[in-house]
Chain length 237, copies 2
């Protein structure tokens, strides 16, 4: 059992709270029974971290003292169980893709990942967003991130390299009414933009069609909601 | 200008960060230019609070020192301008109502209020939810709460007192597919439940129809997203 905060292994785990460290090591932590279970099921989990071995999950477990587990925790109340997971490499895009252009709020990113899984969108491509592997994003996603292909890449590069998708950009009021869109191509990609600025102009120029959700005058939607409604629309086909 | 943290007026404002105090005094604060503007437009604003008078808004202004304004602030970066608003009394329900049963996350509540305004739902009735007048909720709502009737009331009492609505309960998998619902009654009320437990059973028994959003197997949606998709669906009629 590790019980010293100076232990190098523990210090390495603690550093995974920082995005930079996660990317360098290709590792991230998830906290809480439900998420740990999802991590194990996905095959991303390399090691459990807890106060005692958890025999029913049949995973190697690093034992930490309760005090150290508490330091690792980002939750106010938690069973203090963690999974150390490996960021998967070279994921391939599937049939239905969400392209995220600068999403900044962890809750919004997590919500979009959760809704993607619910509406059979299998891939997220992201540029300039908040870190997908932060605990806040993972929690809001309810573990759905383990079920999707997650690809960090310039959106313009993705679009130029994958000509076989029908690309839909989104705009608060400049596009075709989403309700009138009947997709013909089974490969669909939807671009969602930053909370304040929306999708960058030069990305909007690359899409096949700009779409808009009709709303009461002068209102707007949260980007997690807007993206979910559009995915819901396409899930009807 | 008030520059002492012991000033009774300032201490009263500071206490408005607590729900109990807001309800007792019938007052709440909003922060930031955009929200202050919405508060003024709505007629809820009684007083501006800032470091100097803001002549173009033509409102009485209480001048506080920058140090005290900073103490009042809940934002990391802010222009430190606030509106002191009065909680409106006896609001009447309109034609399209959202009944909220124990929503606990401020972001979810704010998102639902924002989406309600976007999809022409004019009324929120809430029981056991996080406080509507907390700054987090107001921020997530993007000020949309100023445009709706907000009614704190037991949901069962509301339903029993208003027989002229068509009530739709929501369930993750027990209801009719929402896509098959064509409303006939122009007065619609949708019940959304707690993030973990959903709508209470005894409330579900009171509704005319339980509905469900179809999803890929074993997934679920954030309640802010689910409620928004359902309101979007009804906005098509």
């Amino acid at each position: 059992m590790i019980d010293s905060a100076q232990n190098p292994r523990f210090k390495q785990l603690l550093k995974l709270k920082q995005k930079k460290q996660r990317l360098e090591e290709g590792l991230f932590l998830v906290e809480g029974e439900h998420l740990v279970e999802e991590a194990i099921a996905s095959g991303y989990c390399e090691l459990l971290i807890a106060n005692a071995a958890v025999p029913y999950w049949n995973q190697d477990t690093l034992i930490l003292s309760p005090v150290l587990l508490k330091q690792l925790s980002e939750l106010e109340s938690s069973k203090l169980i963690f999974a150390l997971c490996r960021i998967p490499k070279e994921q391939k895009p599937g049939k239905r893709v969400l392209l995220l252009d600068g999403i900044q709020d962890p809750g919004n990113l997590g919500t979009l990942i959760r809704s993607a899984a619910a509406f059979d969108f299998d891939t997220i491509v992201y540029e300039n967003t908040v870190d997908v592997y932060s605990q806040k994003v993972i929690r809001s996603s309810q573990g759905a991130l383990f079920k999707l292909s997650l690809i960090s890449m310039e959106l313009s590069a993705f679009i130029n390299a994958h000509k076989d998708y029908q690309y839909y950009g989104t705009s608060v009021n400049q596009g075709l009414d989403v309700r009138d869109i009947v997709p013909k191509n089974p490969k669909i990609a939807i671009v969602l933009g930053n909370e304040g600025q929306g999708v960058r102009e030069d990305i909007l120029k690359l899409v096949n069609q700009v779409i808009t959700i009709p709303m009461a005058k002068a209102e707007s939607l949260n980007v997690g909601v807007a993206g979910s409604i559009i995915m819901y629309h396409f899930s009807l086909f």
